[in-house]
C-alpha cells in the first residue's frame, strides 16, 4: 500500500514536471507611491496578459509564472526585489523599472547576473551606451523633442519659447530639447520654468508672449503643470501654436485643461491613444485596439500609454522566449536582440546589437486636440 502511494506520488511528480514546466518571469514595478500612475496600469497589464497567455496554452506548452513586486518607486527597494527575483525566485527574465531610478537599480544587477531585462522607463541613458542584457520599450524624451521639432519645421517655425516643469520629466526633456533644437534650425528665444505644484503660470507665459519673434510655445511637463499652462495660455489669449509633450498624452489631460482651452494643442502620442480612429490599414491598429479593449474591460479604467509599455515588453519577451525555445537566460537574450518587426502598441520594434530600443520617430504620432478629442496630423 505504502509503496503504491509512493509510486503514485512519484509518477504524479514526474508528470507535473514534464506537463507543467514553467517559465519564471519577474517584475518590479511602482504600483504604489509617487510613480503609481505609471506602475499601476503596468502591473494590471502584466497580470492580465500572463493570465490570458496561460489560458491559451502558454509558451511552447509551458506556463508563464509571474512574480511581481511593488517597489513603490524606491530604487533601493527595486534593487532588493531584483536580487530576490534572481537569487530566490529563479526568474529567467525581468520586466520593470517603472521609473528611470528604479530601472538603473535593476539594470546593473540584471546585466551583471546575465538576466534579460526590459525597462519601462524613459531615459535615453538606459540603452545608451548599450548593455548586453538591458532593453527598453518606451521612446525617449529626445525622440519626443525631435518629433515636435519636425512638425514645427514643417510649419515654418524657427523661433520658439519653452516653459518646462522643474520635476524630473520636465527638466530632462527641457535639456534634451535644447540639445537637439539646433539640428532642426530652431532657436529657443525664451526659456521659462515652473514648479510641479504651481497654480498660475501667467507671469512666465506673459514674458514668453512679449519676447520678439516667438512663433510657437513648447511645454515639456507632466501632471497638473501642463493643464495649468494650457488654461493660462487660453486666459491670456496667446495666439500661437502650443505644443505639449507625450507626458500628458491621455484623455485626462483634456478633462483637466478643459476642452476649450486645449483646442488646437499639439503633442506627440502613441497609436494606442487614437486606437479608435486609426485607419484600418495601419499596422498597429489591431494590436492597439485589442489591448485597449481587453485592458479597459479588465481594469475598468481608461487605457494609458504606460500600460502600453508593459504590454509591449511582455509581447517582446513572449516572442523571444518562443523563438529561443529554452529557458536559458542567454538564449532568451539572444532571441530578444534578434527581434525584428514586432508590432507593439508603442511602435514597431526591431532590435540590433547597437540598438536596444528599436523604435524610430514613426512610433510617435503627431496629434492635435480638436473638439475635445484627438485627431492625427500626419
Amino acid at each position: 500500500m505504502k509503496t503504491t502511494m509512493t509510486l503514485t506520488g512519484l509518477t504524479l511528480a514526474l508528470l507535473a514536471s514534464t506537463a507543467h514546466a514553467e517559465l519564471r518571469l519577474g517584475a518590479s514595478l511602482s504600483a504604489t507611491g509617487p510613480a503609481a500612475f505609471l506602475g499601476d496600469p503596468e502591473a494590471k497589464t502584466l497580470e492580465m496578459l500572463v493570465e490570458e497567455l496561460n489560458a491559451n496554452g502558454g509558451i511552447n506548452g509551458e506556463d508563464v509564472v509571474l512574480t511581481l513586486y511593488d517597489d513603490g518607486g524606491d530604487p533601493n527597494k527595486a534593487r532588493t526585489f531584483a536580487t530576490r527575483l534572481i537569487e530566490d525566485d529563479g526568474v529567467v527574465a525581468i520586466i520593470g523599472g517603472s521609473t528611470t531610478g528604479t530601472t538603473m537599480a535593476i539594470a546593473d544587477l540584471a546585466d551583471g547576473e546575465g538576466i534579460p531585462f526590459i525597462s519601462l522607463a524613459g531615459a535615453v541613458s538606459i540603452i545608451d551606451p548599450v548593455r548586453e542584457f538591458v532593453f527598453k520599450t518606451p521612446h525617449t524624451d529626445r525622440m519626443a523633442c525631435e518629433k515636435i521639432f519636425t512638425d514645427m519645421q514643417a510649419q515654418g517655425t524657427t523661433v520658439i519659447g519653452m516653459i518646462s516643469g522643474t520635476d524630473g520629466f520636465g527638466a530632462s526633456m527641457q535639456a534634451q530639447c535644447k540639445d537637439v533644437a539646433g539640428d532642426y534650425d530652431i532657436t529657443i528665444a525664451a526659456d521659462e520654468t515652473y514648479g510641479p505644484g504651481d497654480a498660475d503660470m501667467t507671469p512666465q507665459l506673459t514674458n514668453i508672449a512679449n519676447t520678439d519673434g516667438i512663433q510657437a510655445v513648447l511645454n515639456p511637463g507632466f501632471g497638473q503643470g501642463p493643464a495649468v499652462v494650457t488654461r493660462n495660455y487660453a486666459q491670456l489669449g496667446i495666439d500661437l501654436p502650443l505644443y505639449q509633450s507625450h507626458g500628458v498624452a491621455s484623455n485626462g489631460f483634456i478633462e483637466l485643461a478643459g476642452a476649450d482651452a486645449a483646442e488646437g494643442v499639439r503633442l506627440p502620442g502613441t497609436a494606442l491613444l487614437i486606437a479608435d480612429i486609426l485607419p484600418d490599414d495601419d499596422p498597429q491598429k489591431e494590436v492597439a485596439t485589442t489591448y485597449k479593449a481587453a485592458f479597459e474591460e479588465q481594469a475598468g479604467q481608461p487605457v494609458s500609454t504606460f500600460g502600453g509599455y508593459a504590454h509591449d515588453a511582455f509581447a517582446l519577451m513572449v516572442d523571444a522566449m518562443t523563438r529561443a525555445g529554452s529557458d536559458d537566460p542567454q538564449d532568451i537574450r539572444d532571441a530578444l536582440e534578434a527581434t525584428s518587426g514586432l508590432i507593439g502598441t508603442t511602435g514597431t520594434y526591431t532590435f540590433s546589437e547597437t540598438d536596444h530600443l528599436g523604435l524610430d520617430l514613426s512610433a510617435f504620432r503627431m496629434l492635435e486636440i480638436v473638439d475635445g478629442g484627438w485627431s492625427a496630423i500626419d
Binding site: D40, E192, Y194, G197, A199, D200, T202, P203, E255, G258
Partner: protein
C-alpha cells in the same frame, strides 16, 4: 499685453489661495499654540470630497457644503481621537501628532478616492476678465473674495464674540480659562471644526484653479504656513497679508527675475522679514509671565 498688471493679477490669485490656507492655521494656533500640519489635508479633503460628490450627481453648491461639513467632522474626530488623549503633552509632541495625522489622511484618501488629478468646473465660467491689457479669471475673484470674507469673519469672531475671546483665553492660560468657567475641551473641539471647515472651503474655492489630488496638501500647507509665519502666526490680518505678499513675491520674481528662482526669492524675503521681526509682520509680542 501689460506685464506688471498681469504679474500682479497672478500674484493675487496665487496669494489668495495661500492666504486661505494660512487663515485655517490661525484658529487652532490661537486655541492651543499648536501649528496643525494636517491643515493642508483639510484643504485637499475639501477639494476631493466636492469633486467626488459632484461626480456622483450632487449639484456643486450642495457638494461644496457637504465637503465643508464632512471635513469639519473629520477635524473634530482628529481632535477627539488623537489630540485630546495627548492633552498635557508638550506642544511639540502635539505638532508631531498632527504630522502623523496628515500622513494618515493622505494615505486613506489615496485608497478611498484615487491617485488621479481632478478638477472642478469654475463657478462663473472660464471667460477671462480683461482689465487694462491684463486678464484675470472669474474664479480668482472667488478665491480673493473668499479669503476676504473668511478674514473679516475671523476678525469679528476673535474681537467681537465671547466664544472667540474664550478661544484666545484658552490659548493664553488653559487653567485660568477653566477657572473663569470656559469649557476648554469644547473650545478645542470647536477650533478644530472651524479650522477644518475653513481649510475645506479653501479647497473648494481653489480646486478649479489649482486642481486637486490626494497629495496636494503638503505643498499647500507649506506655503500657507510660510504665509502665516510671514504675517504673524495666529493673526487673521497677518495670514491674509502674508498670503497675498508671498503670492506677489513669487509672481514678480517669476516675471522680472527668473522663474527658476521664484520660490527661493520668496523664502529669502520671508527669512529676512523674520530676522528683523521674529513675530512676523502683525504678530503679537509674546510676553512670558513668570
Amino acid at each position: 499685453m501689460d506685464s506688471l498688471l498681469q504679474f500682479l493679477f497672478s500674484g493675487l490669485t496665487v496669494g489668495a489661495v495661500y492666504a486661505l490656507v494660512a487663515l485655517g492655521f490661525t484658529i487652532i494656533y490661537n486655541a492651543s499654540d499648536v501649528v496643525n500640519f494636517a491643515q493642508g489635508e483639510f484643504v485637499m479633503l475639501g477639494g476631493m470630497i466636492t469633486v467626488f460628490a459632484h461626480e456622483a450627481g450632487i449639484p456643486l453648491p450642495l457638494a461644496a457644503l457637504l465637503a465643508v461639513v464632512l471635513t469639519a467632522a473629520i477635524g473634530v474626530a482628529l481632535n477627539k481621537l488623537a489630540i485630546e488623549p495627548a492633552r498635557g503633552a508638550p506642544v511639540v509632541s502635539i505638532i508631531i501628532i498632527t504630522i502623523g495625522a496628515s500622513i494618515f489622511i493622505r494615505g486613506a484618501s489615496q485608497l478611498i478616492f484615487d491617485k488621479q488629478l481632478h478638477r472642478l468646473p469654475s463657478f462663473s465660467g472660464d471667460a477671462p476678465i480683461r482689465i487694462g491689457g491684463a486678464t484675470i479669471l472669474p474664479q480668482s475673484l472667488w478665491v480673493i473674495g473668499g479669503a476676504l470674507i473668511v478674514f473679516v469673519a475671523l476678525w469679528l469672531f476673535f474681537t467681537r464674540t465671547l466664544t472667540g475671546k474664550a478661544v484666545l483665553a484658552t490659548a493664553n492660560n488653559r487653567l485660568a480659562a477653566q477657572l473663569v468657567g470656559i469649557n476648554t475641551r469644547a473650545i478645542m473641539t470647536l477650533s478644530f471644526a472651524l479650522s477644518a471647515a475653513i481649510g475645506a472651503l479653501a479647497g473648494v474655492l481653489a480646486t478649479p484653479i489649482t486642481l486637486v489630488s490626494y497629495d496636494v496638501g503638503v505643498a499647500l500647507a507649506l506655503k500657507g504656513f510660510a504665509a502665516a509665519m510671514l504675517g504673524g502666526m495666529g493673526n487673521p490680518k497677518g495670514a491674509l497679508v502674508g498670503g497675498l505678499l508671498l503670492g506677489l513675491f513669487e509672481a514678480l520674481t517669476a516675471g522680472y527675475l527668473s522663474s527658476q528662482y521664484k520660490e527661493a526669492v520668496a523664502f529669502i524675503v520671508i527669512l529676512a522679514v523674520l530676522f528683523a521681526m521674529p513675530q512676523g509682520l502683525f504678530g503679537a509680542k509674546s510676553t512670558e509671565r513668570v
